[in-house]
């Protein structure tokens, strides 16, 4: 703050009110003077520079700019020779001058289902009608700080809610009032995945819920605008009214959220500008270049404090790498041609701001693009490109005066003019008098040293070996020095007006006599140029995914033959020895003895080894950012497909256990859960490439203790008993049926008449449940005790559909005959029980009884640990209950494939099926067996023999990064105490918040 000295220029700093405002304090002055800034290097816009230019301003607007400009008579001329003039910066993402929202208190443990307000949308986290201007109060302190960064305009909004309402565009003009400062009170609309703190309404409790809510709100607004509504919804009306203003979506600086926003852009065709994560370099190809604009954070991770080796060991390679790679992110984004602006919102000082700007430039970012990211791009995002962001006729006179090229080391912004009003950051007019002098008083010679005269002056006086303490003061062009002689308890005072190169003047000596003094300047010590101490280090390479065990490139399909293996076909051939399996183009091409194979086929000797199809886990919660949307008793509108986390290390761990396909299920916090996702564990691939192609859609249902909330002391949500659970389902199915009928009726209207007919309201939740009734979506139902299993089948039968799979189904053995009759499969645990009351009768023979009764049985994990040894769990079907080994193996391969309706492409070793194969060191169900190679569609994603090399590479990379961080610390830079963030482990019951 010290360096930010402000004062008013005489003559042009007088507050001038609007022309139509009455004036009672004197005679009215109407501003009509011109200001001209001459002889400067003017950067009109990035990439367009003129030398010896002139900028002519009047009333806050640029009248003209160029090299040959006639100055009107009433012009004040400011000579800016040697200076550079830049358009000032624009910040898009800030809550500058907006009052922070007050957090609403929460009482008790029960959830709140209804909104606090009425007249608005049903969900309190949709605050589209909110206008940030209502909580606006100009904050001079922050404004001056932001001007120090170079900003002249800030687009500000309140950080609260999923739809956060509209923003306000403010000029950082301290000299005039809000009439001038506020450029727009409705500049932008803002969105996020975070709920508001001003309401405790529990929905949505997850990111997937937030996504569904945004979609539903969008569809509701369409429907609302097409209908003559009996009721008012001010939120929707505001959203409709703001249709054409720019929209900014905050990802929370999260990489996966960024992808989710891109998904919404494509689906809803809304032109969101995304506040991105700074990790775009990891998955730049997944961002749709044609449609998106980004706001990149300009904060960069600090090097870690690595002085404690035990703690350092806990820092993940991923976090270390981010320090190394983050500075090159803007460069990578610029290379992909995605337009982007910078935000300073996570930066804490102007020093850091410019240091980081210089850093990203030294890591490859073009200077002009950097300048664009601060000027023209944000102006375009705001739709204000015709008045801000450039130095051009009719644009606002918002500009910076610097002593050199903006991004050069040592360049200082001395003035920041906003709407033609000067704001001085560093007073150039203060004369620098630093140096060593010979001071002569009464023929006595002293040595005088002056330091830091432009900021906070200090001085020191020496004679021989005696040092005299000096109190110094330097302002308004006067220098005053008070010299203390402590030994004799005397003082001397000297003063002078600085107007020439010599310091000399009048004063009193130690004896109190008036004296004249003079100085002779001694040779300057060579000035140390201040440089940024942090060096450039080559960024370490990015891997897929960008963390430990990532690959430098994504594994590719390779034609491969496994020779001489014991092959578990899962087909009528059974388990056949000394057999070859040939893989061509990702498919199984042939199975047999000594089969011929084309040249260039990769040959794997599988002698004494076993080859099986990949393990399929029907019930998994890995690879997701959230699992439960528990905010309501039905959440059919949410989808796990929206929240897949392709970087979860558990994907790789599962591959090491031979797992190739999983179904990621919604949790069991509510009776009707969300839509599930079926993915291939293609480690390193994008989310979309992991999704199982053309798989049937599924949804998770749940019964019993979890949906009754028995184990988390919440007593307000219906249902609290198994009796209520039945009615939840009956109610939703009935409503979905009626919903469907309405649409069928509407769709039957002939085209000619359709234009006049009003379509029914589109409801994502009802759509999903209607799909179930139509047989287009299939149910996996979390269930434990026989009564509820029976109930669920009866409810389904009443509505004429089938429960595809009962998952957990630990009392399936008690109703196996009924399940068989209904046609439901069972996906169960091998030996879990007794962890809650409803599993007290769970038995490890459950699988075998159901199997013997003709039910299709799978073993699943619901657990990231067990999932990587499902092969051993299959053996438990043999141990407990005596299922044959061949059939037991199908419990983790072919049977889950059938339950997921993907048995036509996976689940067995059969010609033309996907080459999802696992090579085992020995009998696949033995505890002594290990997966050696795991292949998905012909590409090998896991090789046990490569692990040691990977660990070695990681170790080397860590030690390189640690040595760089030590280097950074040794140069006196600040480092960050390690905070190790680990990923949450999800089970059925895991809640997001």
């Amino acid at each position: 703050m010290r360096k930010l000295i402000f004062f008013t220029f005489l003559g042009i700093g007088i507050l001038k009110a609007q022309v139509y405002f009455p004036e009672n304090s004197g005679v009215k002055i109407v501003p009509n003077t011109y200001n001209a800034f001459t002889n400067a290097t003017i950067h009109l816009e990035p990439g367009n520079v003129i030398k010896n230019g002139t900028l002519l301003e009047k009333n806050g607007v640029i009248v003209d700019v160029g090299t040959d400009i006639k100055l009107p008579k009433n012009t004040i001329v400011h000579d800016k020779s040697g200076k550079h003039i830049y358009p000032s910066f624009i910040e898009l993402f800030s809550d500058f001058s907006i009052k922070k929202p007050t957090k609403k208190n929460r009482y008790g443990r029960s959830e709140q289902f209804n909104p606090d307000r009425s007249g608005y949308y049903w969900n309190d986290h949709i605050l589209s009608e909110y206008k940030s201007i209502t909580d606006y109060s100009y904050d001079k302190k922050i404004a001056s700080k932001m001007r120090g960064y170079g900003f002249g305009i800030i687009n500000s909004h309140r950080f609260n809610g999923i739809h956060r309402g509209s923003g306000v565009l403010i000029a950082l003009n301290d000299k005039q009032n809000n009439n001038k400062r506020i450029i727009s009170d409705n500049s932008t609309e803002h969105f996020s995945f975070k709920k508001s703190v001003t309401s405790n309404q529990s929905y949505p409790s997850s990111i997937m819920g937030a996504m569904a809510l945004i979609r539903q709100f969008y569809y509701d607004s369409k429907w609302y605008s097409n209908n003559d509504n009996q009721t008012k919804d001010l939120s929707i009306e505001a959203f409709i009214k703001n249709k054409n203003i720019p929209k900014i979506f905050d990802s929370g600086f999260d990489k996966l959220n960024t992808i989710r926003i891109v998904k919404l852009i494509n689906e809803l065709n809304i032109d969101f500008t995304i506040v991105a994560s700074g990790k775009e370099f990891e998955n730049i190809n997944e961002l749709n270049k044609d449609k998106i604009k980004l706001i990149l954070p300009l904060n960069l991770p600090k090097a870690f404090d690595v002085s404690d080796p035990l703690l350092t060991k806990k820092i993940s390679l991923k976090d270390m790498r981010f320090w190394s790679q983050a500075p090159s992110n803007p460069y990578h984004v610029s290379r992909s041609k995605i337009p982007f602006a910078f935000t300073s919102s996570m930066v804490s000082s102007s020093k850091e701001f410019f240091k980081n700007l210089r850093k990203v430039i030294s890591y490859g970012l073009d200077r002009d693009i950097a300048l664009k990211a601060l000027t023209t791009v944000p102006a375009e995002i705001l739709g204000q490109q015709n008045i801000i962001g450039k130095l051009k006729k009719k644009f606002l006179a918002n500009f910076l005066v610097t002593n050199g090229e903006l991004f050069e080391n040592g360049t200082i912004i001395s003035e920041n003019w906003v709407q033609g009003q000067p704001h001085i950051i560093l007073n150039d007019n203060i004369k620098d008098i630093d140096g060593n002098y010979e001071l002569i008083i009464n023929d006595f010679k002293y040595k005088l040293q002056i330091k830091n005269s432009k900021k906070k002056i200090t001085a020191e006086i020496k004679k021989d070996s005696t040092t005299y303490p000096v109190k110094s003061n330097y302002e308004n062009e006067w220098l005053n020095l008070t010299i203390l002689d402590k030994k004799n308890n005397k003082y001397s005072q000297l003063s002078c007006k600085i107007d020439s190169n010599r310091l000399q003047g009048k004063g009193i000596d130690f004896e109190g006599k008036i004296v004249y003094w003079s100085t002779k300047k001694l040779k300057d010590n060579p000035k140390k140029r201040k440089i940024d101490n942090e060096n450039y280090y080559n960024p370490v390479p990015v891997t897929y995914p960008n963390k430990a065990y990532g690959n430098l490139s994504i594994p590719k399909q390779k034609n491969t033959i496994f020779k001489n293996a014991t092959v578990w076909t899962n087909e009528s051939e059974g388990i056949i020895e000394n057999t070859d399996v040939l893989v061509i183009n990702g498919k199984i091409a042939s199975v047999g003895k000594n089969i011929p194979y084309p040249k260039n086929t990769f040959v794997i000797d599988a002698t004494n080894k076993h080859l099986t199809s990949g393990i399929i886990d029907e019930h998994s919660h890995i690879a997701a950012s959230s699992i439960n949307e528990g905010g309501q008793n039905s959440s059919a509108e949410v989808s796990i497909g929206d929240v897949i986390d392709p970087d979860d290390i558990n994907i790789f761990r599962n591959l090491s256990g031979g797992v190739t396909t999983i179904q990621i299920l919604h949790g069991s916090a509510n009776p009707i859960g969300g839509k599930s996702a079926i993915i291939n564990l293609k480690w390193g691939e994008s989310i979309e490439n992991m999704k199982f192609k053309d798989a049937d859609p599924f949804i998770k249902f749940a019964l019993g203790e979890n949906v009754k909330q028995s184990n988390w002391e919440s007593y307000s949500r219906f249902p609290q008993t198994r009796m209520g659970v039945e009615q939840v389902f009956t109610d939703y199915f009935q409503r979905a049926k009626e919903y469907g009928d309405k649409w069928v009726k509407y769709n039957e209207i002939p085209l000619r008449k359709k234009l006049k007919a009003k379509p029914p309201r589109y409801d994502l939740e009802m759509e999903t449940i209607w799909e179930i009734l139509k047989g287009e979506r299939f149910v996996t139902c979390h269930s434990y005790v026989q009564s509820e299993i029976n109930m669920m089948m009866k409810v389904a039968e009443k509505f004429d559909f089938k429960i595809n799979t009962f998952t957990h189904i630990l009392e399936g053995y008690k109703v196996a005959d009924k399940m068989k009759k209904h046609g439901a499969g069972g996906s169960t645990f091998s030996d879990w029980w007794s962890y809650k009351f409803e599993v007290k009768d769970a038995i490890p023979h459950n699988g075998s009884i159901m199997h013997d009764s003709g039910v299709l049985v799978a073993f699943n994990s619901d657990d990231p640990e067990m999932s990587r040894r499902l092969n051993q769990e299959a053996a438990k079907a043999v141990k407990y209950g005596g299922v044959s080994e061949e059939e037991a193996w199908k419990f983790v391969t072919l049977n889950p494939a059938k339950l997921l309706h993907i048995e036509n492409s996976v689940g067995s070793i059969k010609v033309n099926k996907n080459a999802d194969l696992v090579l085992w060191s020995s009998h696949p169900m033995s505890i002594y067996s290990r997966a050696e190679k795991t292949m998905i569609q012909g590409a090998i994603y896991y090789s046990s023999d490569k692990i040691n090399k990977m660990l070695e590479t990681n170790k080397k990379e860590r030690s390189l990064l640690i040595s760089q961080m030590l280097d950074v610390a040794s140069k006196g830079n600040k480092t960050e105490t390690p905070v190790i963030i680990t990923k949450k482990e999800f089970h059925c019951e895991t809640l997001d918040y």
Binding site: D308, K318, K547, K836, M866, A875, K879, I927, I980, E985
Partner: protein, 427 residues
């Protein structure tokens, strides 16, 4: 085979109304298990061996005996091709203290308070737990029953798994005290963040005070029961179990206990013991490592670290056993042999892996005089499996004995199995 046994026993119609199997009778006749692989438990194996026992004690261990030379008084079990093991021992378990995890009323493992050396697990031990009976058919016959929580959780006792009540069950009562060393890191579970624990030294100081007070406190009125309960730690007649995972905890904890002249120290969990092998060896500290069925501590760690740890420590010359604590620990006790099997799959020789849950466990718990290996004069606590008992593929226990008493291998679960199998058979 096993199916047949169960069908047979179900025909005998054991009293269905009892949840717990009736404890076996005292051994009256002499038994000889002949022609089997005898896994001694100490690393040795006798192929084609035999074991005889009477009155609960092992009387013969050696080569198999031909039919003609067998003493008539022996009941002979011809176990050709089968495998005989000492009963498996579960260390640091909570069997019998909790029945159903989610039901608070059934949880008796964690008393409130920080320093509770006077708390004794055995009095809460439910000898009739349905979970206890479910671990026996897989070979687990002995468990150290340990309280959880606090800084000093309390005292553990060694129990055998076939008893009418806790007094019947106890093999060794109040044999050790469990100290949970404070973590040098603080973990914010909500945000999954780990940072330095600023209160670490403060927590250590509290332990120091408690030990110092206990050491000097004397038996006089008023008697300080907690301090008094620590006395046998100092004289070495009880073991101090140090629960610690991180390197810093291990070094600080052991050094502290050594400075307090604690004689018998056992390290429990020891996630990062790999980096302190020499230190642990120097101080002769056995390590009871966490079960291998867990995930690596961090995403960077070797995928198979939890599986490989036993091999690394055994190779380093440490005495190693397996700790059962963790999620769903009681129900997973029946997978104890497979934990050993996993350690074998990742490097340990099979008989070495077996030692972890037999000989080594008994030695660590100081019950090796009677249990943990098949040696003449020791207790006849044995299991007979159709195949390799460390592999779920072949773990099929046909006979089990505790102190010579033949125990039932039926459970609440096998009863339900039989009941519903019969239901469907009739359809």
């Amino acid at each position: 085979m096993i199916k047949k046994i169960f069908t047979l026993t179900s025909l005998l119609l054991f009293n269905m109304s009892f949840s717990q199997q009736t404890p076996g009778d005292e051994q009256t006749n002499k038994i000889l298990i002949n022609n089997c692989f005898v896994h001694i438990g100490n690393g040795e194996i006798i192929e084609d061996g035999a074991v005889g026992f009477s009155e609960g004690k092992i009387t013969y261990v050696g080569k198999s005996i031909s039919n003609d030379s067998i003493n008539e008084k022996f009941n002979v079990i011809n176990a050709r091709g089968k495998h005989l093991y000492p009963g498996f021992i579960a260390v640091n378990s909570t069997l019998g203290l909790v029945e159903i995890d989610a039901v608070r009323a059934s949880r008796d493992q964690d008393e409130i308070g920080d320093f509770l050396p006077h708390i004794r697990s055995l009095v809460a031990y439910n000898a009739e737990s349905k979970i206890i009976e479910s671990v026996r058919p897989n070979g687990v016959l002995i468990a150290q029953v340990t309280p959880r929580g606090g800084v000093i959780s309390g005292k553990s006792s060694i129990m055998q798994m076939d008893a009418w009540n806790w007094e019947d069950a106890v093999i060794k009562s109040d044999e050790g005290i469990h100290l949970n060393w404070p973590s040098p890191y603080s973990i914010d579970y909500r945000n999954r963040k780990l940072t330095k624990n600023k209160n670490y030294l403060k927590s250590v100081k509290l332990i120091d005070n408690f030990f110092s007070e206990s050491k000097v406190s004397i038996k006089q009125s008023p008697l300080n029961i907690p301090y008094e309960s620590m006395k046998k730690i100092f004289d070495g007649s009880q073991t101090l179990y140090l629960h610690a995972n991180y390197e810093k905890q291990i070094v600080d904890g052991v050094s502290f206990l050594k400075s307090k002249k604690i004689k018998n120290i056992v390290l429990i969990h020891g996630e990062e013991s790999e980096n302190q092998i020499d230190f642990l060896k120097k101080h002769e500290i056995p390590v009871v490592i966490s079960k291998p069925h867990r995930l690596p501590l961090s995403e960077d760690q070797d995928l198979n670290y939890p599986y490989k740890l036993a091999k690394t420590l055994v190779d380093g010359g440490l005495l190693v056993s397996i700790d059962l604590a963790g999620s769903m620990e009681r129900i997973h006790t029946r997978n104890l042999p497979f934990f050993a099997g996993t350690f074998s799959a990742f490097g340990l020789e099979k008989e070495e892996a077996l030692k972890l849950i037999t000989y080594n466990a008994a030695k660590i718990l100081k019950i090796d005089k009677n249990y943990g290996s098949i040696v003449k004069g020791k207790s006849a606590t044995l299991i007979l499996s159709d195949g390799d008992a460390l592999d779920m593929r072949s773990n099929n226990i046909s006979h089990a004995y505790i102190d010579g008493r033949k125990i039932s291998l039926e459970t609440h679960q096998t009863k339900l199995w039989n009941r519903y199998q019969n239901k469907y058979k009739k359809q």
